[in-house]
């Protein structure tokens, strides 16, 4: 068999319906990579069989008596609960706002569920609730309902939060992960990987200090500015778990296109790059909590960029790549060194290398 035949055979194998082969849930199933996708597609899509779900967007778009709504939910588990630049409360509000924002919706209402572990300090909960309130108010979103459960000591990691959000959507805006086409430009709204590295360093395992704060931020203002710029926007995503690489792989797959990234144009702060070098992980896979990835028509690239630059959260926005036709489903990277490689979806969390 030639190399191309083998690669074609692999492409066919990858296109097959995923199965969950593991007997038990492992941490890889929660890392946002292939294992997570397999779990969602093989178990949840099957069980809940619904066209609004099957789109696998960050928010579902639904219509209620003529009102076009976006609906989303997200659970937040982070250790440590407090880190430079924010806490689990900020994430729980901003993250859900962002899932609505990238669906082109204006976020309106949030619901919050708390799972607390016996023994968790009330002062900590007060701080978290305060952060949520501040974040919601700053974003003009109302937190209107909630729920609290307490589990015995050892059955939870202090505090888990689930938030659900509803927003109003302009039905004339057509966005979708399947709509990217050759000639489109890929933009990112700012330096990547800051949240992930900040949290990793805040855990203290690495004993590295860096001048970094989480990038957690609500993106609805930025997405509205982009949509209002007149640029033809095809896809918007916030690059959370799995980072920019995972988002772009989902997009390449869903749209049947290839994405070619230019490594030198991807904004990465030196502290993030340094930590990533040290750990042998790629910033493209590190989580952000306030970074927009957008695909726009190539002809509108400058207009889109100008709109992002005009917004405080988009000052460091950059075009990082473009969409091409072939090979479909692949994300390629032109490295700063001048070579080319594939940027694939990871199976689970990026694991530090041994040496």
């Amino acid at each position: 068999m030639t190399e191309q035949e083998v690669l074609d055979r692999i492409a066919r194998a990858r296109a097959r319906r995923p199965r969950v082969r593991e007997e038990r849930i492992t941490l890889a199933h929660g890392a946002g990579g292939k294992a997570t996708q397999n779990l969602i597609e093989a178990i949840f899509l099957d069980a809940f069989d619904d066209p609004a779900l099957a789109a696998l967007e960050d928010s579902a778009t639904v219509e209620v008596d003529g009102a076009h709504l976006a609906l989303t939910t997200d659970s937040y588990v982070v250790s440590p609960l407090f880190f430079p630049g924010g806490c689990i409360g900020d994430l729980a509000v901003n993250g859900t706002i962002n899932d609505l924002a990238v669906a082109g919706a204006r976020p309106r209402f949030l619901a919050a569920g708390f799972i607390l572990e016996e023994g968790f300090p009330v002062a900590g909960l007060t701080r978290i609730a305060g952060a949520m309130s501040t974040a919601a108010r700053a974003a003009g979103v109302r937190l209107v309902t909630g729920d609290t459960k307490v589990v015995p000591r050892g059955h939870g990691d202090g505090c888990y939060i689930t938030t659900t959000g509803v927003g109003r959507r302009d039905p004339t805006v057509r966005l979708g992960i399947t709509t990217a086409r050759p000639g489109d430009a890929v933009l990112v709204s700012g330096p990547i990987g800051e949240h992930g590295v900040t949290v990793m360093l805040a855990r203290g395992d690495l004993e590295i200090d860096a001048d970094l704060v989480s990038d957690t931020a609500p993106l609805h203002g930025l997405t509205a500015a982009l949509l209002g710029s007149g640029a033809t926007v095809r896809v918007m995503r916030d690059a959370t778990r799995g980072g920019v690489a995972t988002v772009l792989n989902e997009l390449a797959d869903a749209s049947g296109v290839a994405v070619v990234l230019e490594e030198d144009t991807v904004p990465v702060r030196p502290a993030v790059r340094g930590a990533a070098e040290l750990l042998g992980i790629d910033p493209l896979y590190i989580a952000c909590e306030g970074r927009l990835v957008a695909v726009v028509d190539g002809a509108d690239q400058e207009r889109a960029l100008a709109a992002l630059w005009d917004h405080p959260l988009g000052r460091d926005a950059a075009v990082i790549g473009r969409v091409v036709a072939d090979p479909p489903g692949l994300v390629l990277l032109r490295t700063g060194f001048g070579g080319t490689r594939v940027v694939d979806t990871l199976v689970g969390d990026p694991l530090p290398r041994i040496c």
Binding site: R24, I25, G339
Partner: protein, 374 residues
Amino acid sequence: MRFVDEYRDAAKARALAARIAQLCEPGRQYRFMEVCGGHTHTIYQHGLADYLPENITLVHGPGCPVCVIPMGRVDDAIHIASRPDVIMTSFGDMLRVPGGMGSFLDAKAAGADIRMVYSPLDALAIARAEPDRRVVFLAIGFETTAPSTAVTVQRAAEEGVTNFSVFCNHVTIIPGIKAILDSPDLRLDGFIGPGHVSTVIGCRPYEFIPRQYRKPLVVAGFEPLDLLQSVYLLLRQLADGRCEVENQYARVVPWDGNPAALRAVADVMTLRPYFEWRGLGFISHSALRMRDEYAAYDAERIFPVPGVRVADPKACQCGEVLKGVLKPWECKVFGTACTPETPIGTCMVSSEGACAAYYNFGRFTRERVKEAVR
């Protein structure tokens, strides 16, 4: 970023590539093996192959420590980890390595207390913090990581920490290279020598390779320009009719290695008569065990382990890939039955493994990519 960007300069790479192309004899095929998995990772991460002429093939060698650990040893480690009194600690990329009964990640999901550490000293710190538990460090790696294991054991002994032990799987690089050199289907023109291992063992141990096997070896650094320069140096030797050990990584590797590190290893560990390497089989004097003086820190003696040898899956051709006989995509199960999600062979597990590197970074033909990035 200083100390990184200088070694990734595209203009310098183009200049080196031009000199490499000039040195290649037309019509001659060159096959160089990079022994170290770290090099394999660099080659793919930066797309180095794009700078090499078609007649130079880089063959990925056995120097990925995670890839050569045999399945039976993984099972033994899981057996220890599954004891309720044990906290098993390990480097991150060991977590997904499949044994005969699953990986550490699976064992963790089934209830074992397995924790990722960045250094054996972190494992010792856990032992100090949790005196009621028995903390085991799964030690893997070549001479690169053996000194840090040795120093940790010395420290544990000095401090009188009694709930810490090491499940020792350290291997030594020279017997691995020798096994490859002695393999009958070997066709190599030279070696890119492992950089980090050489910081410890130095360059002298490789001198038998040019002398007895008539193959040149260049000890190389881990940045893409280091590797490109090493290819150049190998071609230069071949063109000049020389055959010797050269040190491209002189900014880090002393010719005589690191005597203090070697002393620490010699104090704590001793050679095993033989050890199994995944895919390569049993190789004599190729691995380290704890010395009798440190028996109290030897997990193999503290805990009963099954010690059952698990044969590599029949379909798996990791051995041929490790020896450079097969390219990853030429393996029967590559990319279909054996993928990074469901690795059959260890070459697919670690990002340093030849198959995983090819699958993750190189899964395309150059012609199509040239078209895409044009």
